[in-house]
């Protein structure tokens, strides 16, 4: 308990990304996310198997492990490092904090996530919930206190996911209902990259209430979700209803191509409060041409319709290369672009250079250098910003 208290204190002191998902696991021959994550499409809480694999495949080792050691997870992979839980119960936590350092500006501490996860699996039935504390801009996942309008969302009790589901066909199919991640595109953990932000599909705040069916087969995986809206925001006119879906097919060994589609209807968009139909349709690719390298790509076509006209057309795109220098140390380069169709002069473009170091069991240290040229509507000139983002991440 003292260790937990210490961890909490550190997380609070560092004071938003949350659920981790690693699409680059293709390099280890993992197409499906369901074996390692409670959510069958990835991100969020790990299964006990996923927890073990995170130790075997992700953790940095000072010395190269022997063949036997390389296959054997450390006993520290358990909840809170050492606690054995009954088979039906899966508890874990996600604490992420750090600092954002804009060049020419003051460092800004970030409290990104402090969530606890709980899952109960009885026979074919799965019940999952997460809850925690959120600081700043966590309104869409907030439970209490109420915020928005003239009340800033500064410190909120949040609940990002809570759902119940049942598995069928030897766990290849899962049907769920509740508040879940929206199935769309690459479920990358850089949640404010443009492909996630402009499609409203990041794993931090864009969960929706709905009903979903997912499939994880040998060559094909996918999920279809009926969106019923985010009931943690209101009035109802702002809630989006529709569908979101993705499917990914194994074309060749370690080469996966995917399609995503989302159409969401709301009675009021956030800016002009006009009825809106929002479209996002895209393609994804995950490819590991060499053992230590994974290439990821996503291109999304975006459209916003108002009742009597096509409002805007846009796009978002990402290409990412993840190179595992040695086990536990990843260098990641990303190039992204977007256009929101709002009279910008050309697209916005950005580049990320990142390093992720899984230094200890349950501990990740990450540094991102982000350069973005953000196009502004005419006549404003584009803005260029360079930011360093440092993160310390504990997953219990």
């Amino acid at each position: 308990m003292r260790k937990l208290g210490w961890l909490l204190a550190v997380a609070v002191a560092l004071g938003g990304s949350t659920a981790a998902a690693f699409p680059w696991m293709v390099k280890h021959d993992y197409q499906s996310c369901a074996v390692c994550h409670v959510d069958p499409s990835g991100a969020g809480q790990l299964t006990p198997y996923g927890r073990a694999q995170s130790d075997v495949l992700l953790r940095w080792r000072i010395k190269k492990p022997t063949a036997d050691e390389a296959q054997e997870p450390s006993p520290t992979t358990r909840f809170l490092w050492f606690i054995d839980l009954p088979e039906v119960v899966n508890l874990s936590g996600n604490f992420r904090g750090g600092a954002m350092i804009p060049v020419g500006g003051a460092p800004r501490p970030l409290f990104m996530a402090a969530d606890l996860y709980g899952t109960v699996k009885v026979d074919r039935f799965v019940f999952h919930a997460s809850s925690g504390l959120g600081l700043r801009n966590v309104g869409p996942a907030a439970i209490l206190p109420q915020c928005g309008g003239d009340k800033p969302c500064n410190a909120q009790w949040v609940a990002r996911e809570f759902w119940a589901g049942a598995t069928f066909a030897d766990e290849a199919v899962m049907v769920r209902a509740g508040r879940m991640f929206v199935p769309f595109g690459l479920r990358n953990n850089e949640h404010f990259m443009w492909v996630r932000d402009t499609t409203n599909t990041d794993t931090n705040l864009d969960q929706q209430v709905g009903v979903s069916a997912s499939y994880n087969g040998e060559k094909l995986r996918g999920e279809v979700m009926g969106l019923l809206g985010n009931y943690q925001l209101g009035p109802d006119a702002y809630r989006e209803r529709g569908y979101s879906a993705f499917a990914e097919y194994t074309v060749l060994s370690k080469l996966y191509l995917g399609l995503s589609s989302l159409i969401a209807v709301s009675q009021a968009d956030l800016l002009l409060q006009l009825p809106q139909v929002r479209h996002a349709h895209g393609v994804t690719m995950r490819w590991s041409p060499l053992e230590p390298l994974a290439l990821l790509a996503e291109v999304d076509f975006l459209a916003w319709q108002q009742p009597t006209r096509l409002d805007r057309l846009g796009f978002a795109a990402l290409v990412q290369a993840d190179f595992e220098v040695m086990q536990g140390l990843h260098l990641i380069g990303s190039v992204e672009g977007q256009h929101t169709g709002s009279q910008e002069r050309g697209p916005s473009v950005g580049g990320w250079v990142s390093a992720a170091w899984y230094v200890l069991p349950h501990v990740e240290v990450r540094l991102d250098a982000i350069l973005r040229r953000t196009a502004r509507p005419a006549p404003d000139p584009a803005t260029v910003g360079f930011t360093l983002l440092g993160q310390l991440h504990f997953f219990l």
Partner: protein
């Protein structure tokens, strides 16, 4: 939600996010050949002049929205002003059209506030019906309040739905 995040990251990454379109008042002046900025400047469209999310709720603001105004799109504002002119929209129901009030000489009057606009107007078209939200093509529709987050924003239905699913699952397991 997207908007709040945009502000956060724009501030963080050095980009400048704005919730009002800064060119709109200039477009109105040019398009309507006004002698100065519209009354209240941003307040002609934004409630109390506060340019944050969900504040384009003045009667005139709603009227231009319903005639196709799009954020950061000057052409959409020109088209909306043309539509209001054609429809003689009178958002405040004072008998003078919005466009006549804005073009009024020597100084424009506020199309959101009922005044004796005929005294200072430059021959603005009088309208005999319509009124707030109902004139010609200008009807702004009901005002939607600002977005709210949290339990008070109505999270009960989802909890009830989840409880129902859990109950059904447990019942199925028992049987």
């Amino acid at each position: 939600m997207r908007f709040h995040r945009a502000i956060f990251f724009a501030a963080s990454l050095g980009a400048a996010a704005a919730s009002a379109t800064p060119t709109f008042t200039g477009v109105m002046q040019t398009e309507l050949m006004m002698s100065g900025p519209p009354p209240g400047v941003c307040g002609v469209c934004h409630l109390n002049g506060v340019t944050t999310t969900g504040t384009v709720t003045t009667p005139f603001g709603r009227a231009v929205r319903m005639n196709g105004l799009m954020a950061n799109n000057d052409a959409s504002l020109r088209a909306a002003l043309t539509a209001l002119t054609m429809a003689n929209t009178d958002s405040d129901g004072d008998g003078c059209s919005d466009i006549a009030e804005l073009k009024g000489m020597p100084s424009p009057t506020n199309p959101n506030v009922a005044t004796d606009c005929s005294a200072g107007g430059d021959g603005g078209t009088m309208v005999m019906d319509g009124g707030m939200g109902g004139g010609g093509a200008g009807g702004g529709g009901p005002t939607i309040g600002p977005i709210r987050y949290g339990c008070g924003a109505n999270s009960v239905p989802e909890l009830m739905a989840l409880a129902a699913v859990v109950a059904l699952a447990l019942r199925a397991r028992r049987s």
